[in-house]
Amino acid sequence: MPELLQFAFSGLTVGAVYALVALGFTLIYNSCDVINFAQGEFVMLGGMTTVFLGLAGVPLPLAACLAVVVTIAVGLALHRFAIEPARGSGAVVLIIITIGASIFLRGAAQVVFDKRFHSLPPVVGGDAIRIAGAAILPQSLVVLAGAVVILVLLWGFIERTIIGKAMVATAANELAARLVGIDTRATVGLSFAISAAIGAVAGILIAPITLTSYDIGTLLALKGFAAAMLGGIGSAVGAVVGGLLLGLLEAFAAGFVSSQYKDAVAFLIILIVLLAMPRGLFGRAPVERV
């Protein structure tokens, strides 16, 4: 029983990061039908930029804010220079562009930063808290709380502000949104900026626990995408549920089956979900136009 709880705690912590990455995927997919494989690089940029700004002498809270700003800038640049010029291309071309962007960002991080692993001091330090025989780090609770806060803020933004409504309108029907006067290009750019911010915050929160380096982005993007598919691509609730579920499944597989094949769990899930229930848990039925 204590083992089950322990795996559950670590699974939920990592799952929160997957959930945030999946949320970023969903936001961008909803606004412009693009699967953004560079999403994982946003997480990497958040953590690494904070680390290196901190090493340069900037106080950590300020470094974290600057890191988020830098990542937002990268997200906007990605939209403006890589996605916008290729509007109207097929889904595959856009996926390849974002994969190229993620490779580029990883290569740039390798040059600007370095290839070592880095850590950040936890927001809330101290020993692990013991609950029913299992231990959970205070930072894990911070990660989970951060994820919840981000979700609430995002929900409030989308439901209660006019800009949020504009994003929903653009996602529903771009032409109609433009006809009522919404600047769809800016709205899509905004979705990239918000995704980047969410990714960066996730990266900063998780760095004290799982360390960060220049190449964590790729695997995170793939797993975040698996989580989004599991929950149903296009559904924000699905993204979060999918992320947490994936984290739990991964932790249980690592603990009870084989830790070597831990990474395989996400990809097995992708295959099973796509073949058995392509809609995922909360997705809409796909409509094919003839």
Binding site: I35, A82, P85, A86, S89, G90, A91, V92, V93, I95, I96, I97, I99, G100, A101, S102, I103, F104, L105, R106, G107, A108, Q110, V111, T218, L222, F225, A226, M229, Q260, Y261, D263, A264, A266, F267, L268, I270, L271, L274, L275, P278, E288, V290
Partner: protein
């Protein structure tokens, strides 16, 4: 003249000319080896081009099949006592079987769902190769025994140049013939509109599966050559980055252009060789190239050039 240029095998003729004339300008064994590598990857790219360029399906996990071919040629002689050439053929057969088994359910998907399913498949293979250290030597890889045919051990960069060039040309001719055949037209019909193709009587599921299996065999053969050429393989041969490089080669050269596959392969194989001093910038350059070509030269290098020349 026009008839010659438009003949379906003209690209193969042009490429044969390049293959025959190239040794006149290659200074040393190192260049022969790079050229052999280009032909190996061009072979895999041609197979992937059949799938992506003509049938319009996407596969982001094709390096997995290269891995099957590569590890077959490594494990066969080492652990199973099978001669290299038999392991070569066995690897191709195994790839075909795996493609048949996996392709049937996966090819029902479309667009980015298909892309991600193939991605997951390729990654699963890479993880399996990396973890089963008893058979595959784990993340550090394993040595590949030299190919021995009729008692002669195949060695030397020049020998491999001619072997890989011949294999590539055979593969290219087969592909070019397939494209102009009724099966090839069925493929292109599927690419245009699956529903319309089905209405016309094309067995879409079977045709897609067939081209998937064929492209898997191409990749497996290329993977086996790669392993034999290098004498050593690691699980990276079937990794995510390798799959993306294959897709990049196809897309850069031109979706639907067999000659383009050679150009794309040449570009991406020679890129790290030319950047040896700037090795750290290799990923940046690769990502930048992929993005730029996809944004500005959407049709790929060879079709864009062909279109420009035709207009001139």
């Amino acid at each position: 003249m026009r008839a010659l240029l438009n003949h379906r095998l003209f690209p193969a003729l042009a490429m044969s000319a390049v293959v025959v004339l190239l040794p006149l300008v290659l200074p040393s064994a190192y260049y022969y080896r790079v050229a052999a590598l280009v032909f190996v990857f061009a072979l895999a790219a041609v197979g992937l081009n059949l799938l992506m360029g003509f049938a319009g399906q996407v596969s982001l996990g094709h390096a997995g099949f290269m891995g099957i071919g590569a590890y077959a040629v490594a494990i066969g002689p080492t652990h199973l006592g099978v001669p290299s050439w038999l392991a070569f053929v066995g690897g191709a057969g195994l790839s075909a079987l795996v493609a048949f088994a996996v392709g049937r359910p996966i090819l029902r998907l479309k667009g980015h769902y298909l892309a991600v399913a193939t991605l997951g498949f390729g990654l699963l293979l890479a993880i399996a190769f990396s973890n089963e250290a008893r058979f595959t030597g784990g993340p550090d890889g394993m040595a590949v025994p030299r190919l021995a045919v009729f008692g002669f051990s195949v060695r030397g960069a020049q020998v491999w140049y001619w072997i890989t060039a011949a294999s590539f040309l055979i593969g290219a001719v087969l592909a070019l013939n397939l494209i102009e055949s009724p099966s090839g037209r069925a493929l292109r019909a599927i690419h245009d509109s699956e529903v319309a193709a089905r209405v016309l009587g094309v067995d879409v599921a079977r045709t897609k599966l067939a081209v998937f299996v064929v492209s898997a065999v191409y990749a497996s053969v290329a993977g086996s050559y790669f392993a034999l050429l290098n004498g050593h393989i690691t699980p990276d041969v079937s990794g995510f980055l390798r799959s993306i490089e294959l897709v990049a080669m196809v897309v850069l050269g031109g979706l639907g252009s067999v000659a383009g596959s050679l150009v794309g392969a040449a570009l991406l194989v020679m890129l790290p060789q030319t950047l040896t001093s700037l090795h750290d910038y290799e990923h940046m350059a690769l990502g930048l190239i992929i993005m730029s070509v996809m944004i500005f030269l959407r049709a790929g290098i060879v079709p864009t050039l062909a279109r420009a020349l035709r207009r001139a």
